[in-house]
Amino acid sequence: MSTTADPRPTVSADPGPPREIVRVSVPRRSFASELRAIKIVWKRELIRYRSDRIRIATTLVQPLLFLFVLGSGLQTLSAASTHGVNLKTFIYPGILCISVMFTAMFSAASIVWDREFGFLREMMVAPVRRSSIVIGKCLGGATVASFQGVIVLCLAGAVHVPYAPTLILGVFVLQVLLAFAITAFGVMVAARITQMQSFMGVMQMVVMPMFFISGALFPVAGLPGWLAVLNRLDPLTYAVDPMRRLVFSHLHVSAAASRVLDPGVTWWGWHVPALLEAGIIVALGLVMLSIAIWEFSASD
């Protein structure tokens, strides 16, 4: 029970003058009604984000911490081997990705809260498709996570990444795709895991290794064999790499620096095109979304 004092409901206070009853009706399911459901589930995520001041504050602070504390700290160690490129510039795409991933993960976690606090039930009994609920949820989480990405994008200048329109636009699109894929992954996991602690545990167990293996903090060429294999299997690799390529294509650095720091992902010596990398992220996102839809549709 809540703790606040209840202004006592006055028992049948005054029915007032008899008024016309406003009668509404629920139409049969249609494409338009599904779109409306997707929209409201999406909107709810935004409303909740907006009303959660602490969450907004942490989304602002976290990337600053990663970028400036981690970046500046490591810089002192690695000045020699970065060929004059600021380490903060190098890890910028990786930091952007991890910020987006954390936010997306928290957005997906709200489905676990919704279940715990019962609200999920309200959505599940509505006369709409389960897929509409799941799609709305994924889009909402992706939108909130993308805000995070935009905040980091605004910080680009502070780490010597130029505000070139093609660069900003390219990174923006890539981080939106990543936000969507990670939210879909989180929702897929949340369909099965009903306890917050377990969910967070699973997500940490997945997100942190993904981050470390992806090359967010190191160049992906010249790795030991086992790490190279893991790196190529890590989906996050294919989000960090095209972003880094975009960033380096707009920097004025020596050819040697580019070769070392931005080698690009290769499969058996073949350079994977950036578009294909983005395609991998989209495909994974869609697969996980489908699994999430299937899981929620199958549940009672």
Partner: protein, 347 residues
């Protein structure tokens, strides 16, 4: 209860002109593995009726209500709500029902108004009518002034009232309330009931609810008493009480066992111990009390005589008071009780 049935007809032109029952349940069953939660129940609820399911926790009320509102698939039997089969036409049932669950299903971070709007959007209610409808249902439960407050600042009673308002947002034809007053203080419970009664008068709606409070069941037009997965009695509260007839006498004595023995010996009365006192039933109880003091032979500390209540009805059908059932759980099912039960089940 039947006056409103004629008016309800134009609500949905697809329906036949003579108003069919709002709910028809035939041989409904549900098993969870080995456990048979509901063992074949049959009943009909007329349009415009307030129909109550009464019974102890674990009697199968919630399972039955969940099957009627498409949340649980029946293991056997059929249920039709607002003219639609709950399994084959699940969406059509959902469009026509409102649900208020035992646990809150509101979003505490949203305001009261946002919660209702979200519901209207999910159900596809005509946008132009949403503001007016929202004001109406919120005024009905006395929360219109609090519409802009986040729901997490609401008390338990206010949340429940808001859920009732939300359940009505899309003008459902049947409103399901699962223990709508559980965990609330008596005053709030009473006010919730006055809303439900107002609702019945103002909206053309059928209300199906469960409760395990005996006093609340009296508000219903008809009640079904449920125990261990079957309906043991079904009628209006008055008719059920009339069937019991006799008054109930409750005495506290120095020696309950001796009192029971003495009652059997001298008055040929079958008494039982319930809730720490000796209880028995006799016509015109007040005039019996003087004889009791003279002839019982066991010191009596207190006596109370009461008219039949639904608790007595429950007791006469199941052999125990509802509270005893809840306390003892399923442990002591003696044979006699089972006999009484199955005997009572045939109406």
């Amino acid at each position: 209860m039947s006056e409103s049935t004629t008016k309800a007809a134009p609500a949905n032109p697809r329906e036949a002109p003579e108003t069919p029952p709002a709910i028809v349940v035939r041989g409904l069953e549900k098993s969870f593995g080995e456990v048979q939660a509901v063992r074949g129940v049959d009943f009909e609820v007329a349009t415009g009726e307030v129909f109550g399911f009464l019974g102890p926790n674990g009697a199968g009320k919630t399972t039955t209500i969940n099957m009627c509102c498409t949340l649980t698939k029946p293991s056997g039997g059929t249920a039709t709500v607002a003219g639609h089969d709950v399994v084959r036409e699940r969406d059509d049932v959902r469009r026509n029902i409102g649900l208020v669950f035992q646990e809150t299903t509101l979003d505490g971070y949203l305001t009261a108004e946002q919660n209702l709007r979200l519901h209207a959007e999910l159900y596809g209610v005509q946008s132009s009518l949403v503001p007016a409808r929202m004001q109406q249902v919120m005024e009905m439960v006395g929360l219109w002034e609090r519409r802009a407050s986040p729901v997490r600042t609401f008390s338990g009673g206010m949340k429940r009232r808001l859920e009732i308002a939300r359940g009505l947002m899309h003008s459902p034809r049947v409103l399901f309330l699962d223990e709508p007053t559980i965990g609330l203080d008596p005053q709030t419970r009473r006010s919730i009931w006055s809303y439900i009664r107002t609702l019945k008068e103002s909206e053309e709606i059928t209300i199906f609810m469960t409760t395990h409070y005996m006093d609340e069941a009296e508000w219903c037009d008809r009640i079904a008493i449920m125990d261990r997965g079957v309906i043991v009695a079904l009628d209006s509260p008055e008719a059920l009480k009339a069937q019991v007839g006799a008054d109930r006498i409750r005495i506290e004595t120095e020696d309950d066992q001796a009192a029971i023995a003495s009652l059997a010996e001298r008055f040929e009365i079958d008494a039982t111990i319930s809730e720490g006192a000796v209880i028995f039933r006799i016509p015109s109880g007040e005039s019996f009390v003087p004889r009791l003091f003279q002839e019982l032979g066991v010191p009596i500390r207190s006596v109370s005589v009461s008219r039949p209540t639904l608790d007595d009805v429950f007791m006469s059908y199941t052999g125990s008071s509802i509270r005893d059932v809840e306390e003892s759980g399923a442990s002591d099912r003696n044979k006699m009780m089972m006999q009484v039960m199955s005997g009572g089940g045939r109406r």
